[in-house]
């Protein structure tokens, strides 16, 4: 979604009284390459879950859609799962299964 479209969506959400959370996304490895950026700040509905975020990113970044089935997600540096609700000011990490060593 373009920045203008995004702001319009945010404006509508605010008009309707939908409360938003500001979050920061950090992308690593293949996810960063496909997203074309290291990080992103977003305003998202307060009840957004990890699954909801994956769905949103699949729509906004078609390149990421394929990665969303195996992506690992962290909230504030702890692994998080599909039902988890994303908190205000959350730092969200998104990356493939780790390969250190």
């Amino acid at each position: 979604m373009s920045f203008d479209l995004y702001n319009t969506a945010l404006g509508i959400a605010l008009d309707k009284g939908i409360l938003m959370n500001h979050i920061k996304l950090l992308f690593f490895a293949t996810i960063r390459d496909r997203a074309g950026t290291k990080s992103l700040e977003l305003d998202v509905p307060q009840d957004l879950t990890v699954q909801g975020l994956k769905d949103k990113l699949s729509t906004d970044f078609p390149n990421l859609k394929e990665s969303m089935s195996s992506v690992l997600i962290t909230i504030n540096r702890e692994y998080a799962f599909d039902d988890a609700i994303i908190s205000q000011n959350a730092e969200i990490g998104m990356f493939p299964p780790v390969s250190g060593g």
């Binding site: 690593f28 962290t74 692994y79 990356f95 493939p96 780790v98 250190g100 060593g101």
Partner: protein, 158 residues
Amino acid sequence: MMQPSTSNFPTIFSITETELDLNDLLAQVTLTSTGAAAIFAGMVRGVTERGEPHETEYLEYESYVPMAEAKMKQVADEIRGKWSVVEGIAIVQRIGRLYPKTPTVLIICTAAHRDTGVFDAARYGIDRLKEIVPVWKKEVGPGGGEWVEGDYTPKPGE
């Protein structure tokens, strides 16, 4: 009999871009009560025979550093939970562009004696690092570069 208290046991965990210094690290996890150290070192393999044989020019490592260091601390805590005899623990991962034969990771566990489970403790340390510590490597060879992806999905609470 003097027994060092657990709180005095050194625990070192870090992500670094500088050369790994095994002697320095070993000294930091050696106490007067220490008689054995199990050390695992991983390095860049230039020629791979197993699986699909191939050559590697270099590996490019990256990390989600603050989370990686927190997870290394968690791995050290898990080691202490399983092997209370372990004295010092060091878990260090080097990142950046690393060429064949270069050490990339060091795991050291020390104990009073070698028959205390200290080998298993170090083995557990590298196995867990490869499961939950957010570090990735891109393998670059004659045919180009490709991210290596692990196969472990952390479970809730990990």
